[in-house]
Symmetry: C3
Subunit: 490 residues, 3 copies
């Protein structure tokens, strides 16, 4: 009986959640002139929250460009053996693994605990839990809003991730402030910083640079003094409930609940695991990954053919990550210029639900991407390696940005704003997040450009140039998205 | 010819409307910090509008919790033989029948008048009109925005309904103020109150408690004096048009129009019908209801199989209600603890279009539901009978609510906020509305919980407890959503 | 290799863009009381921007009614031989051809250049470009956000178009200000005016009438002085990029780029083409148009049958225009009263993506349309010819508009507001735009009205009239949407 109930429940939850994933609209909480951008700057995190085994850095979500794009961004820095404690956010996330590797768990509501421990080290008891996934540098992980996830650095180097939260997403029915709900640990410091961001937003103060410095100073001091005062505070979700209630809910002794609710020391939200965390997780091979993708493909094929059973029995096995750094994964490639890999709702279907997409790009020394604009999304670019000079132009024809973007810096290119970039002498590698599950760029030059789609006569008349010149403008760049400096001199 | 035209028109309207139902995004009009909730209170209606045969009570839509959830709530109290006059709202509604029974009509734009009077009591003329539905205690009725509906208490006891209006819904393209458009009657008093709410919102004043009291006092006095002054005002939609125009539009004598536009007395929007209203409405049996549901199911099956003809010929017969109070309808059931019935886009497809869902729950004495959060929706809970102690925790780990919710009180639990409840000694019965057509809850304890989905080692490391304790926390509660006090003591 | 790359790229872009079209939610940026409308006025453009071969007029987007509806409106007036230079907007557009004819190009991102010049007048080179479409009076053209379009008046009379921009559309992730991005020409004057609108909005000033006059005066003077000062400014997208960069991107000599970036004279955004623009464009016949529509229909049939290949190979050939002025195209027709043609997602599928629809209506002298409300959209009406008296009633039962709407004037009827109209002695012709891809109207009188769907007894009780009168009110108007003055007197 209980089994039946559980089955029907998990089925219903599955359906509920799955349905939820079917939505893919974006939502904006912007004030009326949030995107009247006359000047852009590269931005860096202005808040750094130390934990026992790493740090969490937040970009100020009130920065005009992030506010316009409706996103918040944070960066995790996790030491080997560090565990990012289970939490969830009020906005869907895209996580890019900048460096390192690890394992992670994402708790899909209503899905079965399909991973079973085989080791008998602790008696006859065999633990069961949901699927665990390996990840490595270059992976993008997609996390729905409200869904618990944790991760663990089981490698030998630091793990660095950049996390984009799309707070303007329709999946977030709360206001535009980023919120992280922690199931464990002591997130007090982070909560304090996020509260401050929310207050800033309320006051509408946008003198970013000033705040940044002030924040840094005050922040450090403030946090130090607080740490001394409140040595054993606890502010995760479990702590706030009455112990007795929880004892009933978990059907355990109140002593155990007290242990759950007691948080020792200032360990923050990334803790060091004493012995290595030894959980079941199948080894990841390229082979398997490819197989997974093929299955996904055939499932979609199946759905498309109209024989979908409505239960989406495959939901719990949905792919949530893909590596976009592998050179062989490139969607656009030019050996002289570089490559671009895109990740969107067509190759990672969960993005359909999240309303987000991403690209990873590599430019060789002095090569560039042609001027273009994104038709249907904001673009949030994070420079992974090297640097590039970027120009951004708004609807008034003003150059709102013309500078180098260096490693570790972030730049938002608002929807429809035109931009082009050229790598410096060391080349450039970047990841871009888009606020649409199928971001579309229109290049202005090259093979598939808007200019080439115009009749030669229209080009000539529009720019008041000769037919010959119009022809050159249309056809001289035979490339698609790239240009190389060598060619221009030719 | 006219028939053909009418057919093509109604077909086109049908299609139009049907398409409209295919949308299911939510929309938010929140100011930037609308959901920065540090403190929740139970709320009760603060405005009471008397009518000839009943009353209408509105909760203040400017209350922070309702404003964050993007909803307005009202309660109808209809005497036997009372008719709630035809009206429509700018937001989709879910109506829960708290008590009593009756009949209602919902005018689907473009659908045929499929009910025919058989009685020949008034000459040879046979009236025709759209489908009429019976409803009874425990029914949820789903009403799209902009669609006319009326209802009539044909029972012997008072009819009590709680109506949730989702003003933040994408179907509402007006601003976030709740609006009710009346086709008949004298809604002046209600209009005055709603105008005041809108003004309050504009002034941004949110000192709720103060307003509540002030409103009560001033309101009563004000309305009394107004009632004396304007004894025959008329402010429904028909009154405002020029009589001559209407005479042409209805092709009747101007005298008849004048009668339509004349509203006698202070009857408000719920009037007493002199003789019983004697309209055609088939008797409702459980049997028929079940049949209806099966048809719906098979229609969906049909659609799913890709043989949908695109005309959705069944739209006009779409089910818009379901009873969720029947114990046998329960989706989650535990004889010791209680039961929960859920209503969502899978068992009432019109909810797909409305972006709303509901649950009805019963807890036995001292039993409770485990701590959980709603992944993708706000939850608006109305206590039907008994009471329960509820705790709500926000992202900062603050307990924003810890109190009893008594019969007739409302409490909003914002999206992602964690909550648990335990019934008092008399047990508890509630209905909850959700701002998503497939609201998903993640329990923190029990069979399908987030904690159980985590590997034992992660639980142990996260809470710094032993593996044995972690195992107990994961597995001791074998139940799904419930706990019972007896067990905890065991 | 390059071909393959290009193919895969264009395929991927195609998919991306196509997916983008699948979204159809609306988005609102309204402040909290934007639609508390107590008074409506007809509005006319308050800003007139002269160009070499025509003018562009903008309605003030801060007008309460446009702001409530989330739209901006402009009107182009193009002389024979005038070319509206390539541009795109941050919002989807519906364009109605009020007068004249021409050709236009819409650059679908990623689609192939399928039109090939056959003339060999300029050497052996044969130009290729994307599809070009003919348009004529009565056409509606649907333009997605962010997509380049240009048009050319190849007729002998002035070309007049009214363009509706739905800035509140979810496709626009920028704020609610209308933005036009120009690929060529000197849009400086327009940019200055739009900036001023944005500032007004920011200041929240809404004293429209005042502004209008002030704007006119100041505007003229200001623009004159500016024109004299900055004689060769350039503020289109291409001008702002560095010449050297562009030379690399287009792989042409920097001299050519300088010509592109140099804008001579004050020609604005509509220029005169010296010789006639002689581009390939197949002649348009009624026959072909009908064929196109049938193909579209069969394609949809194909999709519906579940055999869609997911690539939507027909996307690049998607129909984006339809003529709704042809009398034979009418959806609702009454020889005594007039006709109405509707255009929605069912007969022009791209509207599904745009979330917009339209109707064209003709009323004979003194005939009218019955009182009705739009269930799910705002209605923006532009009077094409003649005039009509319109009454609009809000939720409070207040007549917020009761006046004549004359040729060239605009009036917004907010969602759910009731309205009726009667043509003057010369009759009336109008086009209405709706902020929903399947706008649905509920008439209050006539064959398919809300009143007729109510049981006679409910009508009698609601209005406290006799059963006989109720019957007349329900059944006397046998028409659907129209009434004629003659009849009322009968």
């Amino acid at each position: 009986m209980a089994t039946l109930l559980s089955l029907s429940l998990s089925l219903s939850l599955l359906l509920l959640f799955n349905g939820c994933l079917a939505h893919h609209q974006q939502q904006q909480f912007q004030s009326q002139n949030e995107c009247q951008i006359n000047r852009l700057n590269t931005i860096e995190p202005n808040t750094r929250i130390p934990s026992e085994a790493g740090t969490t850095e937040w970009w100020n979500p009130n920065t005009q460009q992030l506010s316009c794009a409706g996103v918040s961004v944070m960066r995790h820095n996790v030491e080997p053996n560090g565990l990012v404690l289970p939490s969830f956010t009020n906005a869907p996330q895209l996580v890019y693994i900048v460096q390192g590797r690890g394992i992670q768990g994402t708790v899909m509501p209503g899905c079965a605990d399909t991973f079973q421990e085989s080791t008998q080290s602790h008696g006859k008891f065999r633990d069961q839990h949901q699927k665990i996934r390996r990840f490595r540098q270059g992976d993008v992980i997609a996390l729905p809003a409200g869904v618990v996830h944790w991760s663990y650095n089981d490698g030998n180097e630091r793990l660095v991730t950049v996390n984009l939260l799309h707070t303007a997403n329709s999946a977030n029915q709360l206001d535009s402030n980023p919120r992280r709900f922690h199931l464990a640990g002591n997130p007090e410091e982070e909560q304090r910083r996020l509260r401050r961001f929310a207050q800033q937003q309320f006051q509408g103060s946008r003198s970013e640079r000033e705040e940044v410095e002030q924040e840094e100073e005050e922040g450090e001091e403030d946090s130090r003094s607080r740490r001394e005062q409140k040595s054993s505070s606890c502010s995760n979700l479990l702590c706030a409930f009455e112990s007795e209630f929880l004892a009933q809910a978990f059907n355990v002794d109140t002593n155990i609940i007290r242990k759950l609710q007691e948080v020792r020391g200032h360990k923050g939200t990334i803790i060091r695991v004493r012995d290595r965390l030894d959980v079941v997780s199948p080894p990841r091979t390229e082979e398997e990954e490819r197989e997974e993708r093929q299955q996904e493909e055939s499932r979609r094929e199946h759905r498309r053919s109209g024989r979908d059973n409505g239960l989406e029995e495959t939901f719990c096995a949905m792919r949530i990550k893909e590596n976009i750094a592998d050179p062989e994964r490139a969607d656009i490639f030019n050996p002289q210029a570089g490559r671009i890999s895109t990740l969107n709702r067509f190759n990672l279907p969960i993005l359909n639900a999240l309303g987000l997409s991403a690209e990873m790009g590599v430019l060789r020394s002095r090569a560039g991407t042609v001027p273009q604009w994104c038709v249907n999304a904001h673009k949030i670019l994070y420079m992974l390696r090297g640097n590039a000079r970027i120009q951004v132009v708004n609807h008034n024809g003003d150059t709102v940005f013309d500078d180098n973007v260096e490693q570790g810096q972030l730049l938002t290119v608002p929807q429809n704003f035109a931009f082009m970039k050229r790598a410096g002498s060391e080349g450039a590698e970047w990841v871009s997040f888009f606020t649409n599950s199928e971001a579309t760029n229109t290049p202005m030059a090259g093979r598939v450009s808007a200019i080439r789609a115009l009749p030669e006569e229209v080009v000539a008349a529009s720019y008041q140039i000769s037919r010959e010149d119009a022809r050159k403008v249309k056809f001289n760049n035979q490339d698609t998205f790239f240009f190389t400096s060598s060619r221009a001199e030719a």
